[in-house]
Amino acid sequence: MALYLRPERLEDALDALGSRALTVLAGGTDFYPARVGRPLDEDVLDITALAELQGIRDEGDRWSLGAGVTWSALGAATLPPCFDGLKAAARELGGLQVQNAGTVVGNLCNASPAADGLPNLLALDARVELAGAHGRRSLAVEDFVTGNRQTQRRPDELVTAIAIPKPAPDTASHFVKLGARKYLVISIVMLAIVIEPEDGRVGSARLALGACAPVARRLRKLEAALAGRALDGGLGDALETAHLEAVLAPIDDIRASAAYRRHCVHVLTRRLVTQAWQALS
């Protein structure tokens, strides 16, 4: 690269971003794969020395995951059960070395349609915090990722953290990733559920589906159908084709056909809902 910057203060990083085009680099687990076979010749801003971006913080009504938090660090952190789905993603993304280096925020900013963190973050109603030379702003993750590898991050901005509003303490979450093998694989289908029980019924359920459209999407029709239903063996019966069709835009690609994806979404959604019920009983 012509220029390699590794500032230790956030204001220096933002000044640099504001004055020239820089590629932001943290763990590099998407950066290097996109550049195999060619020299690394971009100007790079390495954010791994920014202390302000480290750590997972309890901020009262929400949790804050700094942009420097790796998947391994997330998996090892003591967090309530609403993070179980995100932790499951942390253990199945890439392999151990990738988990040690890659960051939750980097996965989000790369915004692959198969981004492993996105379904859980959508189901948690997470928000993205951005900082630029002109100030700070916050967006819902749902609004932040706009398409295949497209986000609302402006070139002069850094994502500093992901904020997750705290749900009720007994909120549970689960995640399922379908791939051609268990590790080192890009998802064919992914589903996340965050479920809040209330007196033996579904108080609220939030579900998101990934790898079946340009961007992962919430399954709001299914969420509405699940709300208030009894937490029993019949929970999976709430699922209807109509709940999924609106958000499904699967493609034929090297990993799977669109038809296979459609079939798997039905199977896995039912399985995930059943798993959520079984875990709560």
Partner: protein, 162 residues
């Protein structure tokens, strides 16, 4: 043209000053310095053949800029073991039939050693997660897992089961 500077690298207990460009990966630097036991596989974090220990933790050297690991202890598979004594993990791989073509072996040993540092008495799931970042096309992994179990027992102070 990338900036080059002289940095201090500590590899297998040996300190050295090396002129390294900003855009050099640790994989490139190690092989240029003659550490050929660090293999180049996919160069994108999908195979683990290039794995080395940095301060005891397994990382893929193809996903690491050399400048970022100056001042840290880098260990390749050749750096395991004390003097002439063969490291128990290497011994276990050799005697368990876990080595066929051998290309994945350095990376597997590094990953296994990193896992054992944190989890000296690993379950089957711990072993599978610990080696999740390493691909082997020859062995089918069964004897690799046997070797890791064997080495774990020896490193905990037990007798070799072989």
């Amino acid at each position: 043209m990338a900036e080059t500077k002289t940095i201090a690298l500590a590899i297998n207990g040996r300190g050295r000053e090396v002129a390294v460009p900003a855009n050099a990966t640790l994989l490139e630097t190690l092989r240029e310095l003659g550490y050929f036991e660090v293999k180049s596989g996919c160069e994108k974090g999908d195979c683990g053949a290039c794995a080395v220990l940095v301060d005891g933790e397994a990382i893929d050297s193809c996903l690491t800029l050399t400048w970022t690991v100056a001042e840290q202890a880098i260990t390749t598979v050749a750096g395991l073991g004390e003097g002439a004594a063969k490291h128990p993990m290497i011994e276990a791989f050799e005697t368990s039939g876990a080595v066929q073509c051998g290309y994945c072996t350095p990376g597997l040993i590094i990953a296994a050693q990193s896992m054992l540092k944190d989890t000296p008495e690993p379950s089957e799931d711990d072993i599978r997660l610990g080696l999740s970042g390493n691909l082997c096309r020859c062995t089918g992994y069964t004897k690799v897992f046997d070797a890791v179990r064997e080495a774990a027992a020896v490193l905990r102070g037990g007798e070799s089961q072989a």
